[in-house]
Point group: C2
Chain length 142, copies 2
DNA sequence: CAATTTAGTGGGGATCAACCAACCATTGGG
DNA sequence: CCCAATGGTTGGTTGATCCCCACTAAATTG
């Protein structure tokens, strides 16, 4: 009985997709960015200015897709794109003040949505869940 | 620091997608079915014969997509499709003996793959993870 | 200098999930 | 009997993800 729901991966995936969607929907209205844009902003916020190349590698997306991602962020004035003086092929992507503001807002949105989606769990359980999935995620194998 | 990885939903989603992909890849070669087909077979295995309607609702997919899903399973002889004598609009979808065999094989594959993907967790941790995500999943969300 | 490599660009394309409108056959209510 | 609702079907669209190739400008190597 309950073959499907007995599969951890299945439930995990469903919960993950639902959570992702909830966040994406909220982000689309509030700071008006996509999940990938948030990912890029977060990467920049964590590690400081970087080349598109590095960002793409960090997020695990194709460089050509990163270009289009940057186009959107630039158009919204959330990042600035200057040539790296030491290697003029490279760009130096940095968060603008407005980008930082949006990132902060987005973080708040995520926190808020997660509060709702993880609501059936206690505080300790949420921490445990985070620890467990992180453990899997960081596992070297594949 | 680590803004992205600090978001439970983000990691959850990544792990879910990776796990789902791993299983889908293996299912494609071994019993030669898709994940959605496994889901349908599992539903049938758990709850016995059902109408396409009910199956679609149970899996949360569109009825029109369920039609095409059934087409594949029928072509492979994994399910049988008879009109419900009590309501001739309805079908009565049942697992064929071969469908049951495939379902059993698929279950084994899933178990095997999960053994690998959840490998960084102890047995107790796996049970905890399953319990936690199930708790979220069954919550009256949205 | 010539050849190669690298960062970024632009233009796709394949696949899949999700959804929608229109339609047929059947049922059930009035 | 007429009509609305339901189960199923067909033929789409949309959006997201992923991936690939050809091209430029700049840097690096020989």
């Amino acid at each position: 009985m309950e073959t499907l729901l007995g599969m951890t991966t299945f439930v995990l995936h469903k919960v993950g997709v639902a959570g992702r969607r909830a966040i994406a929907d909220r982000l689309a209205v509030k700071p008006g960015i996509t999940l990938w844009q948030l990912a890029a902003l977060a990467e920049l916020g964590d590690q400081g200015p970087a080349a598109q190349n590095e960002l793409a590698a960090g997020l695990g997306i194709d460089p050509s897709d990163m270009v289009r991602l940057m186009d959107g962020l630039l158009a919204d004035g959330l990042v600035s794109r200057d040539r790296d003086p030491e290697d003029r092929r490279r760009y130096r992507i940095s968060l603008t003040p407005q980008g930082k503001k949006v990132l902060t807002a987005a973080r708040a949105v995520v926190r808020e949505v997660e509060k709702a989606t993880l609501q059936p769990l206690s505080q300790a359980e949420r921490a445990t869940l985070h620890r467990l999935v992180t453990k899997i995620h960081q596992s070297p194998v594949k």
